[in-house]
């Protein structure tokens, strides 16, 4: 089978029925997608398949053949973060980070399909993504800011300088 991951064509040996998550992590060594619950319940393995968010633990690898798969590794290198990634940094939207790559990709897809900064719409779009640090409000703030097209000065994110209130938060 041939899979295209982050623009690179990769040949894999595994079964067409193997979870795409296992192929990405174990066979290709792409570890951005996390194996949280491995049964569709947490969202930490979400990747984009042709731009659409999918739980890679549920997608048989054979169904991804011929598609464009994007993992967090394809979003932007540390020195050139994508706007959504910058928003997550600015809003402290990552704590332990385990859910973050899934959240980022679901957020990117939400924004790409024209999602607004409406918190309810964001919650609906990311329903099923679990953050066990319970940092939901900052995640939603970050996605809202990215959806608005806010720009971020990443030097202002030090502890003590940031509050969500000063960045147009809903208050």
């Amino acid at each position: 089978m041939n899979l295209t991951v982050n623009g690179v064509a990769r040949e894999i040996d595994g079964s067409a029925l193997a979870p795409l998550l296992d192929v990405l992590r174990d066979e290709l060594g792409i570890t951005g997608p996390k194996a949280g619950c491995h049964q569709g319940g947490c969202g930490s393995c979400t990747v984009l398949v042709d731009g659409e968010p999918r739980r890679s633990c549920l997608v048989p690898a054979g169904y991804a053949e011929g598609t464009q798969i994007t993992t967090v590794e394809g979003m932007g290198p540390p020195e050139d973060l994508s706007p959504v990634q910058q928003a997550f940094v600015h809003y402290y939207a990552a704590q332990c980070g385990f859910c973050t790559s899934g959240m980022l990709l679901a957020a990117q897809a939400y924004i790409d399909r024209g999602g607004t900064d409406d918190p309810e719409a964001i919650q609906h779009a990311l329903a099923g993504h679990v953050c066990r640090c319970t940092g939901y409000s900052k995640i939603i703030d970050a996605i809202a800011a990215a959806a608005r097209g806010d720009s971020f000065d990443l030097t202002t994110t030090a502890v003590g300088k940031h509050t969500t209130m000063s960045n147009g938060g809903a208050a």
Partner: protein
């Protein structure tokens, strides 16, 4: 070092047909065949080793996806993603919106959901009630023979046949009422769908009140009095205790949901 996924046995035979005819041939008489729609049920069952298929029929490339309309007759291909139903009129649209979350709804298929019986923790066929309520028919194959029959009759065969599509006439009115889910990952704990056909026939059906979706025939017979119909519905099903809700709770809530659906249908008359 590259490691092959542990989820699938190397000996598992994979069939990935590229047309409906090929799918019917690959299914054969269905013996030992595990049918994979989107994979949202089968793949985690394999990951957790609850399922070790010797033969897996993957339908994703068989051209069985899509919704077509001929007058008021709607036909939905078996591998149409559940998400594509969410904008439909009640009861199907709101019922589909109550399935999983956006990502899983977009991957899981109508056929896979309709054919899913009781899982290890709870009933799974969220859509069964809504499609029973609109009087859907199921087109299916086994042994090369293709048949269309009422969905109830198809479901009674518990997966002996390969579902190809479901069809129904758009109802004159429909309603859906279900319990909220604690997490989007949960299957439907209990929901009631109702529809009045253009010829006036009223159908009610429940999901979550037993291992499979069920018509509520006693409630239909008493439909003139929504409160009485709600109580009558308890004669039609045998709710069970499971991970999502107790039988006691379902017994208390079912009459309420039936009453709400019938009241909404009356108001739309």
């Amino acid at each position: 070092m590259a490691v092959a996924s542990m989820a699938v046995d190397a000996a598992t035979e994979i069939l990935m047909p590229s047309s409906e005819d090929e799918a019917i041939a690959a299914f054969g008489d269905g013996a030992d065949v595990v049918v994979v729609g989107g994979g949202t049920i089968v793949v985690p069952d394999m990951t957790y080793r609850r399922l070790r298929p010797s033969k897996a029929l993957m339908l994703g490339r068989a051209g069985l996806s899509g919704i077509t309309k001929d007058g008021s007759r709607v036909t939905i291909g078996a591998t149409t993603p559940v998400q594509e139903l969410t904008e439909m009129a009640a009861p199907i649209g709101p019922c589909a919106s109550n399935v999983a979350d956006l990502e899983i709804r977009s991957q899981g298929t109508v056929g896979g959901n309709l054919c899913a019986g009781e899982g290890s923790e709870a009933p799974r066929g969220d859509l069964q009630g809504a499609f029973l309520a609109v009087g859907a028919t199921a087109r299916s194959a086994a042994g090369g023979d293709v048949t269309e029959e009422p969905l109830e009759d198809f479901l009674a065969k518990r997966g002996e046949r390969l579902l190809l599509s479901v069809s129904f006439d758009e109802p004159a009115a429909g309603a859906f009422a279900g319990l909220d889910r604690p997490h989007t990952h949960d299957y439907t704990a209990l929901a009631v769908s109702g529809a009045r056909a253009t010829d006036g026939t009223l159908r009610l059906a429940a999901t979550g009140a037993g291992s499979w979706g069920a018509r509520l025939l006693s409630a239909e017979a008493a439909a003139g009095d929504p409160a009485a119909a709600g109580e009558a519905a308890l004669q039609d099903v045998s709710p069970r205790d499971d991970a999502l809700a107790s039988a006691w709770y379902r017994t208390k809530v079912l009459p309420v949901l039936v009453r709400r659906v019938l009241t909404e249908l009356k108001e739309s008359a």
